[in-house]
Structures are given as C-alpha cells and as structure tokens.
C-alpha cells in the first residue's frame, strides 16, 4: 500500500539515466523539489545512482554539491540497491524498554548481517530506525514498509515469508 520507497525491492527497475531524467522533469517544477525527486528515483530504482546528481543539479539550477549534500544528509537515501526485502528495526527507547536491544543482537546473528548490511544471498537488508510510532506494541519493525508489532525472531521470519509470497 505505501507508495514510496518502502515498496518491495524485487520490482525495481535497473538504473537508466534517460528514465531518471524523465522522473526528474516530472517533479522539477515543484517548490523545493529535491526531496520529492530523490524519493521518486529511489522508489523506481531502489537507490539513487551517483549519475543522478548532475542531472538533478542541472534540472533545478543547483550545484552538484548541494544535491550530493542532500543525498548524503538524509538516512533514507541509498547509494546502492538494497536486498530484496528491507527490514527496519526500531532502536528507540520505547522498544528498548521491551527488550529490543537483545532481540536485535539475535536478529543480526540469525541473519548473519550487520546494521545497514544485506544478507549474503541478497535477500534481506537490515536497517536501524528511530521510532515507528508503534511504541505501545514494541519491539516494532517495518518489513518492506508493512508494520510488525511485538516482534520476535518467529514473527520476523513469518513476515518475510508473507512478503515473499
């Protein structure tokens, strides 16, 4: 259901500068268009290719440094594709209060991955997130943009299976 970057990784298009230029042109007239453009590119390609930086800078009459600055300032934007599924685990206090830290250690061990890393088979990328607003039903996660509450290793595995179906 969510329309932006959380959607499933498998449906991404390969990077294509022409296609990117078209997306940029669609949004270039908007006030403060940088973030909408970066979101749209990431939604389409799964990441924002470095080649997009001069394209955006030209379209918005900004410097490449300004676009690069934006791209790297915000945690959401990726410089390379993620795995087929993205798991965002909430590391904030309300989830800590219900054992999130210990759970996260287990998750990273089970999937043999580090924060921001992708499993060797390219299936799952695990990212930290600070608060999903699911603070009364933690530990919480977003699995490909779909919320999961009272998370444990089993419910995470179920959610991943469900997303793959």
């Amino acid at each position: 259901m969510p329309s932006h970057e959380h959607a499933r990784g498998a449906s991404r298009e390969p990077w294509d500068a022409g296609r990117a230029a078209g997306i940029i042109a669609e949004h270039a007239h908007r006030e403060g268009a940088t973030l909408p453009i970066l979101h749209a590119l990431q939604e389409t390609f799964g990441y924002v290719d470095g080649e997009a930086v001069p394209l955006i800078a030209d379209a918005l009459n900004l410097s490449r440094a300004e676009i690069h600055g934006c791209l790297t300032f915000y945690h959401d934007f990726r410089a390379e594709p993620a795995g087929r599924h993205t798991v965002k685990l909430c590391r904030a206090e309300a989830c800590q209060a219900v054992g999130a830290d210990a759970l996260h250690e287990d998750v990273l061990r089970r999937y043999d991955v580090a924060w921001h890393g992708t499993t060797r088979d390219g299936r799952v990328t695990v990212e930290p997130v600070f608060c999903l607003g699911l603070c009364a039903c933690g530990p919480a996660a977003l699995v490909d943009g779909e919320p999961v509450g009272r998370l444990d290793l089993d419910t995470l595995a179920d959610a991943l299976t469900e997303r793959a179906a």
Partner: protein, 520 residues
Amino acid sequence: MSITLYLPKDAASLALGADRVARALTRAAQARGLDVELVRTGSRGMLWLEPLLEVATPEGRIAYGPVRPGDIESLLDAGLAEGGAHRLRIGRPEEHPYLARQQRLTFGRCGIIDPASVEDYRAHGGYRGLEAALAAGPAGTVEAVKASGLRGRGGAGFPTGIKWNTVMLAQAPQKYVVCNADEGDSGTFADRMLMEGDPLTLIEGMTIAAVAVGATRGYIYCRSEYPHAFAALETAIAAAERAGFLGADVMGSGRAFHLEVRLGAGAYICGEETSLLESLEGKRGIVRAKPPIPALKGLFGQPTLVNNVLSFAAVPWILEHGGPAYAAYGMGRSLGTLPIQLAGNVKRGGLIETAFGLSLREVIEDFGGGTGSGRPLRAVQVGGPLGAYFPDTLLDTPLDYEAFAAKKGLLGHGGIVVFDDTVDLARQARFAFEFCAAESCGKCTPCRIGAVRGMETIDKVLAGESPRENLALVTDLCEVMTDGSLCAMGGLTPVPVMSALTHFPEDFSGRGAKLPLAAE
C-alpha cells in the same frame, strides 16, 4: 440483513494483524452467506485490545478485542451481528473505563469514522470549526485561539494564538502554513494516530489557520517512517479537494488554500522547525539561527506559520465551541487537553486524551495497569529522547508544562515510556549521546562534538576508568551543550543524561564492561 463492522487500519492495528483479521472475516462471511460491510477506521487508542472489532447494533457499537484471525468463526457462532456474548466482548467501547475517563476533544472522531470520507467526517461534526472561522474572520479566529490558551503541542509550549497573530500581521505577497508532522520522539504516536484515523481534523485545522493568517499554500511535512500516515493524508487531501474544502475556493468563501503533503527522509533533526523548513526547501536539514523567526521569515523567506499536528488538530474544536470552552480544561498555564501517549513496558498502552493535570502515577497505574512485564517499575522517560528519566519518587508530578520544568524534565509531545527494573540508566544515558551524535545536523560544535565526546566519556565510566573524574567531565560537558547549542537537539540531550545521573547514580558506579555497548 446487512451487518456493519468496524476494524482499524492504522499502523499499530496492522502491526498486530488487523489485515489478517479482515481477510478471515471476509472469507467467513462469504462462506456463511452473510452480507457484511466492513468499515476500516483509525484506532481508538486502546492498543492492548487491537485489533478491536466493532459491530453496529441498535444499542450502539459493541466491541471485541484483541481479535485474532482464529477467533472469527467463534465470534460469528456467538452472534457477532447482534453483539452476542463472547470471551473477547468488551461491550460499548465508550463505556470502557480507559475511554470513559478521557476528555476526547481532538480525538473525538478517531477510531469511529472512516478517515477517507468527508461525508462521514461532516456527519460527526466535521468542518463546523471552519464554518465558524469563516464567519468570525481572521482577527476573530486568532482571538478565539488566543482565548483557548492553546500552547504548541510539539513540545516547546509556545502560545499558539500569539504565533498566529504575528503571521497574520506580517505583510508579504505569499504566506505559508506548515504542519510539523515529523513526530520523531520515541514513545509518541498521537500525530500518527490522528493522521491515519482522522486526517481531516488536521486538514480542517490547517485550513482555519490559512484563512486566519492569509496563507494560500500549505505543506504537511510527514516523516517517512509513517508510510501509512502519508498515504492517509494524500487520500484525505484529495477527498477534501473534491468536496470543495480545499483548493481555489474553500467552502465557497472565495479564499484559496492549496495543501500538499511532503515526505521527510529519516532525519530526526527535521522535527526542529527551521531544519524542517530547510528540508522543505529542498536542502539538507540544517538548523537556522533565530531570529529571524519563521513567523516573519520562514519557508522561502516568507512569513510562515509552523505548528505541530496536535496544535492544528485542536483548532476545529476550539472554533466550534469557543476559546473559553477549551480553556475550561487544564490547570495553571497548561490549558485544554493533552493527548498522552503511554508506551514502552506497560500493560495497557495507548492514547489518553485528558485535561492537563493528571499525575504520572495516575496515568501509569490507573490507565496503564503498571509494567507489561509485571516487574517493578524503575524509570519513566517523558517527552521523547530529549526528555528526563524520572524515578518512582517523582511519579506524583502532574502533567503540566511548568510542573515538569520545575523537576528538570519536559512534557514534550506527551509521550511516556515506562521501564521496569531491568533498565540500566547508564546505558540509557549513553544512548542519549549516541542518538544525538547520529542525528545532530552538525551546524554547532557543542552538539556535533559534544555528543561524541559524551558517549566516549560514559564508556570510560562504564569501563571503570576514573569514574568520578569522568562523571565530572560529563556534567561539565552537559552544561556546555545546554548553554551553547543552537537548538533543542544539543540543548536538551543533557536532560536525559543528567536526570539519569541525578536520580540513578548507582548505575554509573563503574562495573567494568559488563554490558555489550553495541554501537551502530
């Protein structure tokens, strides 16, 4: 005979399986040849009962919860359509003690109506506030907000009416209304619940503000961690446009208001209003020095009214019922109602909207039923990651801006996170620095460098390395960050740190590296 059922679809209910319940329900109804209309609502905010399924009966709605997909057959067998007896039956939700004791002014419709329907919204009193505002005119509207005593619900508590007045009086070719929906504080979810469960209340509040201050364009800056809220806002804005409540001619008044929702990109600092404006302008979310204040020089240098979701959402009720009616709730200089969010390790977490003045203990024990784990409560963090950790002895503090400030805490956005006795406050203090280091915009030195040095120094304390000297250093560093930071990020990070040190000194006694302090 058609049965009308209500089931939430807000992110928390979905996280607890609401869609699976909906699918099981649809399947079972088909198999039994039942004519079921399933309305997807927001959440009422009793989160331990989600997914909460309600059925319309002649006696009003009857609720059942928490419902699992496997409960559907037995619910239908028990006569769900007539509100029949079942072990999950909780009766009329508004009579549940958790809701009956609340004063739901802002959240009156949340969990009841279809959030995408302007018709349903109007049938439940929606847009009466805008009608009143159009009749009262800009000055009369600002007067009503002033009289309500409403203070910014985002955390700073600045009088809303005064801000509105400043923007109204500013002269400029273009003014903006901007909603800060970057609810990044852990333990808070009221903005999300409202945006998903009753987005038109926020939209109406912003429209009233636009008419009052003379703005024709507005933005809602919604955090990307809330994809469902973003989608709900887009749907509701489109519906309001179609119905003539947004666009070139708002409610036939001849006034234009164009509203757009924009997505953040995972930066906590963008909850700070000047950083948010930079982000909306398409730049890095770097904090601006004030003055100039955004009310005079905000988005694209134009006069801009920036308010939190809950501040805007309080306004329709205030305009409909009058400022004094709102001010009749609350205590001291904290007037009206506060949507409290009870979270963390608590038995009955959820949204509690009541007049200011309840004590923390009443909220946690009477509403919350104590810790979820059943272990003794040890600490409570109020007001998000920049809020203080309070011990049990401070639980009688009333929820009031000034009372919290007097105890060196802050009410913030009204989030309460409960911890049981397994919490390690030295670790929480370290996390406060770690979070600040990860999320600092980097513009000012006390925040950018201080957070990193603070984290390192606490690590030394925990490793047993000159703990007394290093704690003195932490205290000194906290003073510098408090006095020298440009915004609340660096300025308030010392609040959780110093409260942990003050109230839980035993946790800082240098036990060696007992705990794995996993850094990101």
